[in-house]
């Protein structure tokens, strides 16, 4: 809990009383289940809960905080793509620019987004209170050994298809949701396409011509000229 308090924004000028109150409310209901949180004043609230508390977080939202509307459940693979960050590029331009060994791309550190995290996969979901018009994004780490978290379908039946999608795309399963048939992919499909190490074969076979659009213009590294070209771009 002390962590949560310190993770509050460093008292920026635009304060957000509504979301701070929501965070305090959520902490009050779920207690130890909360791992971390991130508050962007005037924008949104992210709360990361422990994997075991993933199901309880949904119940808290639905039954204690009045978030009747189920928005979505999805997952994210935080591992940097082993094919270079742009995937089209033969070398990882960003790492190359920073004089990092390109071969080391695979070992590039995993950087989780808002509200932190420890695992490669994270699930995140969102629910909305349609009466008071706000929403909260909940995140949870997915344990590496089991790759599973509790299900949301007992609270939000609409989560069933979302969880099926996450399962086929990321290989994360949900305890308590037995219907894990493929949703989009053919039944005999192997692999988990949304994982970062699943290659997009079309791009590996043939570089994409669209990349030309964002090649640097001559003199773009000069800041003044970059500003000029920006105005040109605006008037085009």
């Amino acid at each position: 809990m002390a962590d949560t308090a310190t993770e509050e924004p460093d008292a920026p000028p635009p304060s957000d009383d509504l979301r701070e109150a929501l965070l305090a409310d959520f902490v009050g209901h779920l207690g130890d289940g909360i791992a971390d949180s991130h508050l962007k004043p005037g924008d949104d609230l992210w709360i990361r809960v422990n994997p075991d508390a993933w199901g309880a977080a949904a119940e808290t939202l639905r039954h204690k905080m009045g978030c009747q509307f189920f928005d979505f459940v999805s997952a994210i693979d935080w591992m940097p793509s082993p094919y270079g960050r742009e995937m089209d590029a033969e070398v990882d331009t960003i790492l190359a620019a920073a004089n990092v060994e390109v071969e080391a791309a695979e070992a590039a550190p995993i950087v989780q987004g808002y509200a932190g995290g420890e695992t490669r996969f994270q699930v995140f979901g969102r629910a909305i209170n349609v009466v008071d018009k706000w929403g909260i994004t909940i995140k949870a780490d997915v344990p590496e050994d089991t790759l599973s978290v509790p299900t949301w379908i007992n609270t939000y039946p609409g989560a069933a298809w979302h969880e099926r999608e996450v399962h086929e795309m990321f290989g994360v399963s949900f305890d308590g949701n037995v219907d894990m048939r493929k949703l989009y992919l053919p039944t005999d499909f192997e692999g988990y396409p949304m994982r970062k190490d699943f290659p997009l074969l079309a791009r590996r076979v043939k570089p994409w011509p669209g990349i030309v659009d964002v090649e640097g213009m001559p003199g773009d590294d000069d800041e003044e000229e970059a500003a000029e070209s920006a105005t040109e771009g605006a008037s085009e």
Partner: protein
């Protein structure tokens, strides 16, 4: 043996025989269910949705939608597209309201970059957004009538929709895939004379609403097939993530255009959010019709008040989006559409989660089809109004 007792015995025997026959029939119906396969190609599905319905006589016991026939993997593809290039992809999600698909993604990118579009761009964005809604709703309304046996409205809808599509084409160059929204504003300003011609088009749209209403509303067959059919209570709808006109037809007063108008010009005009308490197929049709009318109202007011100025904010030529996460959702023609964009400071998004309206709207289908009769399946699917591209992404 008297005559009376004889009659009594015969009556009793007849009663027993009838009961036995009844029970036999019941047993037969209960034990032999039937599986009805609807689709993947069916006029009521706006694409390729397959529904496996298990029937007991005329009644549906369970329905299981099967999709994925049109899955294009947009979430994966966005990871190899630069931010400006993503709009080309997301255009094709809900192809009847394609400009509206671009807006939430652009707003999410703008939020991460802390760029704001100039007022003129916001106005034109909102106008095009509402035009997408008008053309989308019009086709949905006409199509629903067609599926319930009224052939005329759908032809009128296809005819009248062109007036709006012509306006969209005049600005963007594309009837269906405008690809016009940019981070920081719009690609171009309006062509000369566009405001006038749009007003004419809006007059025709208002007339189209009235025409549709006189054609369909009050029609006995239409009413019989929609009233009280496919009732979705507000609570169930919300837990399934039902949104847009579908949830407002269940009495939930929630519209992101009014409740979260950031980046758009909805708070500058006078309009109304319509709801209906019934939650049946008719209510969904009715709310959609009213929303089309409101759309016409919004566009007319915005056309009168477009501010002057540039349509593009200052953004770098090569767009690198700073690290961060943003979720933006807007009230699209089919319901709430959101993009969860994760950026790691590159030219390309690290991850984009697309929350499309129809995916959640169709998730409620197994619940709502349970116990209805076979012809009602069509009425319910048509009134939920989904686009397969919006489910399969």
């Amino acid at each position: 043996m008297s005559l009376t007792s004889n009659t009594g015995e015969r009556e009793q025997l007849a009663y027993i025989a009838a009961k036995a026959a009844d029970s036999r029939v019941n047993v037969e119906i209960e034990t032999e269910g039937m599986t009805l396969n609807i689709g993947p190609q069916h006029p009521a599905t706006h694409g390729t949705l397959r529904i496996i319905a298990k029937l007991d006589g005329e009644q549906v016991i369970s329905a299981d939608p099967v999709m994925g026939y049109m899955h294009r993997g947009y979430e994966k593809l966005t990871e190899v597209r630069t931010y400006p290039q993503v709009t080309t992809l997301v255009n094709r999600i809900d192809w009847l309201g394609s400009f509206a698909n671009e807006v939430p993604f652009i707003l999410a990118a703008e939020k991460l970059m802390e760029v704001e579009a100039p007022p003129r761009a916001k106005w034109i964005r909102t106008i095009l957004f509402e035009m997408s809604r008008i053309s989308n709703n019009l086709l949905g309304l006409g199509d629903m009538a067609a599926q319930l046996g009224a052939v005329t409205p759908v032809f009128y809808a296809f005819r009248d929709r062109e007036y709006v599509l012509n306006q969209v084409e005049a600005v963007t160059g594309g009837r269906f895939h405008p690809n016009f929204d940019r981070i920081g504003g719009l690609k171009d300003d309006l062509p000369a004379g566009w405001i006038e011609s749009s007003k004419d088009a809006m007059v025709k749209m208002a007339a189209a609403c009235d025409e549709l209403e006189t054609l369909v509303m009050g029609n006995e067959i239409f009413m019989a097939r929609t009233r009280g059919i496919g009732i979705i209570p507000a609570e169930v709808g919300l837990e399934y993530g039902l949104s847009g006109a579908n949830i407002r037809a269940s009495g939930v007063d929630w519209d992101l255009r009014r409740d979260a108008p950031d980046g758009m010009a909805y708070d500058e005009v006078d309009w109304k959010v319509w709801t209906h308490p019934d939650g049946d197929s008719f209510a969904r049709f009715w709310v959609r019709l009213q929303e089309m009318r409101e759309g016409v109202k919004i566009v007319n007011q915005l056309l009168d008040s477009i501010p002057s100025g540039p349509v593009m904010a200052k953004v770098p030529r090569i767009i690198k989006v700073p690290e961060g996460e943003a979720y933006v959702e807007t009230e699209n023609p089919l319901g709430v559409m959101g993009y969860y964009v994760v950026s790691q400071g590159d030219l390309v998004p690290f991850r984009v989660k697309i929350r499309s309206a129809s995916f959640n709207n169709v998730a409620v289908v197994p619940w709502v089809l349970k116990g209805v009769y076979v012809p009602d399946i069509i009425s319910i699917l048509a009134s939920l109004y989904f686009i397969l591209g919006d489910i399969d992404r």
